[in-house]
């Protein structure tokens, strides 16, 4: 049972988030202002926190900063209507683990929560393995069941990213931020084109598809059952 603390003052947004996360099996509790949010954040154990940036009472960044000072390391996702690049940097510097700009898709929110809950372990293994996939990080070479994959640099990085998050939905925005370091959304379907190329290389004709498209959200890499 995953316990999530939602610190959000907007009733409508809070209601939708609580309902959506509840449907996904999370136990969500809500605090409506900064002061009570900080109090609940430090007095109980939580697996995750979602903190709105602008709150009555105490600013969201101040809450996260205070908790981090008190050595409470609960992963925190900061929600904000402030979308400037500097705001994002400030959010992460205050101790937030991810920063999501309003308005956001609920699917994007839950995908990011999943990622925060299952932090990719920075394994020092030189070879990643998912089902029939193997990725040699030192030799920069990938195989699917002994079939070598001709991966370009970017495709290699994409595959590594997906393999480290096996079974989790990876959204387009996450890929743009983490692979391309773009903090804006290009007009073209850049991510889809690159992912399409990677999929054709990984999932050959007649092979069970490992990478699949999650409509309207992103992509997922799953080992066949």
């Amino acid at each position: 049972m995953t316990k999530v603390l939602l610190i959000e003052d907007d009733f409508d947004i809070a209601t939708e988030v609580v309902a959506e996360l509840g449907r996904k099996g999370y136990v969500v509790q809500q605090a409506g202002d900064g002061t009570s949010g900080l109090e609940r954040g430090r007095s109980e154990h939580w697996d995750l926190m979602i903190v709105d940036r602008m709150l009555p009472g105490l600013d969201g960044l101040a809450i996260v900063r205070q908790l981090r000072q008190e050595k409470i390391r609960t992963p925190a996702l900061i929600l904000s209507a402030l979308g400037a690049i500097d705001d994002r940097i400030l959010g992460l510097r205050a101790g937030g683990d991810d920063y999501l700009i309003k308005p956001f898709a609920l699917a994007e929110l839950s995908a990011r929560l999943e990622v925060l809950l299952r932090r990719p372990v920075d394994s020092h293994e030189a070879i990643l393995r998912v089902g029939p996939l193997e990725l040699d990080l030192i030799e920069r070479q990938g195989w699917r069941s002994r079939r070598p994959l001709e991966l370009l640099m970017r495709e290699f990085k994409l595959l590594e990213y997906l393999m480290r998050r096996e079974g989790q939905i990876v959204t387009r925005a996450m890929l743009l931020e983490d692979i391309w370091h773009y903090h804006f959304v290009p007009n073209t379907n850049l991510v889809d084109v690159h992912m399409g190329r990677l999929r054709r290389k990984v999932d050959g004709d007649g092979e069970a598809p490992l990478i699949s498209n999650v409509r309207g959200v992103g992509f997922i890499l799953r080992a066949p059952a």
Binding site: G83, A84, I85, D86, I101, P103, L152, M153, R154, W180, H181, Y182, H183, F184, V185, P186, N187, T188, L190, V193, H194, G196, R197, G216
Partner: protein, 454 residues
């Protein structure tokens, strides 16, 4: 020390200063007149005393007593008294009873108080004495009672004249205070009207003007600029309203129709999907606008650092290669030579993405897109050329404005803000951009600067 409030007002302060200056000036002029006047009077008296003593000493000695005595017969009595004394001080002739004891007999004029033989009182006199032949002593004295009286009435007259002069000065001061106060309050009223939103108000400027007029002229120029900006902002606001309302209206209509006509859930789902897409498009516009505003405010120098533009060009070019290939467009990327520039890397990447994105979007299948970074002198020149329809010369300027969408792009997706963002970022960096014809197609040229060497 704190001045009372009234004295801290500029107009009143100037007025007081003017009054004070005038008063002091008048007093100085009067003092000088008084000083010179009395000096001249005493000088005249002394001259006449000396003249008399000279004149009498030149007379034959035998005649002198008679001349002095006959002088005394003149009536009305003259103001000058003369006496001739024998060697032993015995008076031979004249109206001074005895040789004044304190008198130096050097022929010069001295100030003494002598007892008048008529009223027996001491009077201030200008006196000169001289020893003649056979030791006889000649003394000439001139009373200065009249001169002192004259001096006193002169002083009285001057003091009396001072009263209207001071009153005039005060009146002048008040006039200055009121005038400058009125001028300042006129400026203040204008300022208040401007604050109230009348941006077309202007401060009065006189020709030729003083410092206040010069200042007013400068503020007026600021107002002109402000007015332009407000008008421009209003235009942008209208553009925003248009570009946000249009998709929202479509979304609303779609949802309304869906609710009216959809018979089952299956029919509602595409309606909802399209509505979400419409809202996303609206949000995209809003986000792009905020980003442009953020960049235009120019507070982003914090992100400035030196980086290699060539590497960014190569990397962004490679990112777009699959897109070009999917559209059968030949994409050439040439950026071999390292070109270190000072800038915000993230923003410059965004510029490149927008330029290449546009180039690929507008180039038909089978066309070409060339991205090149060359050095002209030691300045990196970025060139993004396509073989699309190009931008007509008349529209090149407008292309960088917000929401500009030529007919060729109106049908295509996008916020229509790509080039506005490009323009904003390049302006922040001071890199000029130019659009040219590629016959056919469009060339975007960005002139960069090398990182300044420290």
């Amino acid at each position: 020390m704190r001045l009372p409030e009234i004295l801290r007002r500029t107009g009143v302060r100037w007025g007081t200063l003017v009054a004070l200056a005038f008063t002091l000036g008048t007093i100085a002029v009067f003092a000088i007149a008084y000083g010179f006047g009395t000096y001249a009077l005493f000088d005249t008296i002394d001259m006449s005393v000396l003249e008399q003593i000279e004149l009498l000493s030149e007379r034959p000695p035998g005649l002198l007593p008679f001349m002095i005595t006959s002088r005394m017969q003149h009536k009305p009595r003259v103001l000058t008294m003369v006496s001739l004394f024998a060697r032993d001080g015995h008076r031979i002739a004249g109206d001074i009873p005895s040789v004044p004891p304190k008198l130096k007999l050097d022929g010069r004029v001295h100030m003494l108080h002598l007892i008048d033989s008529e009223d027996g009182r001491r009077h201030p006199e200008r006196v000169a004495g001289r020893i003649l032949a056979q030791g006889r002593i000649l003394v000439v004295a001139r009373t200065i009672d009249d001169v002192l009286a004259l001096r006193a009435s002169l002083l009285r007259a001057l003091l009396l004249a001072l009263i209207p002069a001071i009153l005039l000065s005060i009146a002048g001061g008040i006039l200055v205070a009121v005038r400058s106060g009125r001028r300042l309050s006129r400026l203040r009223l204008t300022a208040e009207r401007i604050i109230a939103g009348h941006l077309d108000e202007r401060f009065p400027v006189r020709q030729p003007g003083d410092e206040i007029d010069q200042l007013s002229a400068i503020v007026n120029r600021i107002l002109v600029r402000l007015e332009e900006l407000v008008v421009a902002l209003k235009g942008v606001g209208e553009d925003i309203a248009h570009d946000l309302r249009t998709p929202l209206t479509a979304v609303r209509a779609r949802l309304e129709r869906g609710r009216e006509h959809a018979g089952n859930l299956e029919q509602v789902l595409p309606v909802i999907d399209r509505a979400i897409a419409g809202i996303d498009q609206t949000l995209l516009v809003a986000t792009a606008l905020l980003r442009i505003a953020e960049i235009e405010q120019g507070h982003r120098y914090a992100g400035f650092a030196p980086f290699d533009l060539a590497e960014v060009v190569r990397e962004t070019g490679e990112t777009y290669r699959p897109l070009a290939e999917d559209k059968a467009i030949a994409l050439m990327v040439a950026a071999e030579e390292a070109a270190s520039i000072l800038g915000d890397r993230d923003l410059i990447v965004e510029v490149l993405v927008n330029l290449i994105d546009n180039a690929i979007k507008f180039t038909p299948a089978g066309g070409r897109v060339e991205i090149a970074l060359t050095m002209t002198g030691d300045r990196p020149l970025l060139r993004v050329a396509d073989s699309g329809p190009g931008v007509p010369e008349a529209e090149r300027e407008a292309a960088f404005r917000r929401f500009y969408r030529s007919d060729r792009s109106r049908a295509s997706k996008g916020a229509g803000l790509g080039l506005s963002l490009v323009a904003a970022v390049l302006k922040l960096h001071g890199f000029p951009i130019r659009l040219m014809s590629n016959e056919p197609g469009c060339i975007a040229l960005v002139q960069c600067w090398r990182e300044p060497e420290l």
